[in-house]
Symmetry: C2
Subunit: 198 residues, 2 copies
């Protein structure tokens, strides 16, 4: 039995913060330490949402606000797995729950191509951010060659449903994609039936 109430409490905090009417910078500033606390203890993610796949990384939805104001997703990276270069169109926070990740940011250069910044290592317990304001284009990959890594991402929208872009670094050209999610069912964050019936 996992300690799912940690995730329930985080989702409640996120709902409160996102519904407060604060702007992006304030939301991200308030939510980052909550995500850091969530990924500092690895006892709450149910096994179904920690499963890697040999073919591609998995993005398991954990919770999405019905009014598309935020979503929480578990990304599971097998050895050697990573994303193409992509954007988000909304703010995003990345917290590393297990293992580690490598994040590379990209900036448009004069000739239209995308120039890679330095590879940033995100160790277990760390939190990074992306957004249209602070830099929205990156690629993420597993930082471990021999094991899965898992990161918990929070976005300022229902990320699996947003039409966004995948980029070719050399030409800078973009093509549309909508990521969807890997899972048919999300965790029940609240208590399961006790002895009692009614």
């Amino acid at each position: 039995m996992t300690n799912i109430s940690r995730l329930a409490n985080f989702v409640a905090d996120a709902a409160r913060i996102v519904e407060s009417g604060s702007g992006e910078a304030a939301i991200v500033a308030e939510l980052s330490p909550k995500l850091k606390a969530l990924v500092s203890v690895d006892d709450w993610l149910p096994a179904a949402y920690a499963v890697a796949d040999g073919k591609a990384y998995q993005q398991h939805l954990l919770y999405a606000d019905p009014l598309d104001r935020f979503s929480v997703v578990s990304f599971v990276w097998g050895p050697g797995q990573g994303t193409p270069i992509h954007d988000h169109r909304v703010w995003g926070l990345v917290g590393v729950l297990r293992g580690e990740e490598i994040s590379v940011s990209y900036a448009r250069s004069g000739d239209g191509s995308l120039e890679a910044g330095p590879a940033e290592r995100l160790p277990q317990g760390s939190v990074g951010a992306v957004s249209p304001d602070i830099g929205d284009i990156h690629a993420i990959s597993n930082g471990l060659p021999d094991r899965s890594s898992i990161s918990i991402h929070v976005y300022g929208g229902n990320i699996g449903t947003i039409r966004r872009s995948i980029f070719d670094a050399r030409t800078g050209s973009a093509r549309d994609f909508i990521s969807g999610y890997s899972n048919e069912a999300v965790p029940n964050l609240w208590l399961r039936r006790q002895a009692e019936t009614a």
Copy 2:
């Protein structure tokens, strides 16, 4: 593949209505026709949440607001199954998706016992209401002797987590209970991964 977007749209409507700041009567008046529309088409409930159990009726959480403002639950009644006499402490709407239900309301009489009102038949497609304001004590059972019935309930709180009462009709005495939920996972209301990955 079920048409899960019907449920996603209903949950979004419910979130909008519940967050509007209206009072209970206005919320219930606005939400009732949405629930009636939801239960008028039986093509959206995933099979996992339509499963009866030989021992007791099932209450499958479909969605709960992280701030406990509302919840949506699928109740599955096998032949002969029904609830004890119970209350809710919050408003509740009952919409019959499949089969039919019998609802009996109870009122406190002079000697402290609970007096049963007439048995009300809720056919497929109908919507009923309970609440502390309009009468909060009832018992529900399957109206069909030979098949399962399924009803979709919406409550003005996270019903599985609320401490409420089960009653003895003769003495009127109450005992505490918290119902919980039957399921470990709830439906992903949003799109599953397409061909594309990122």
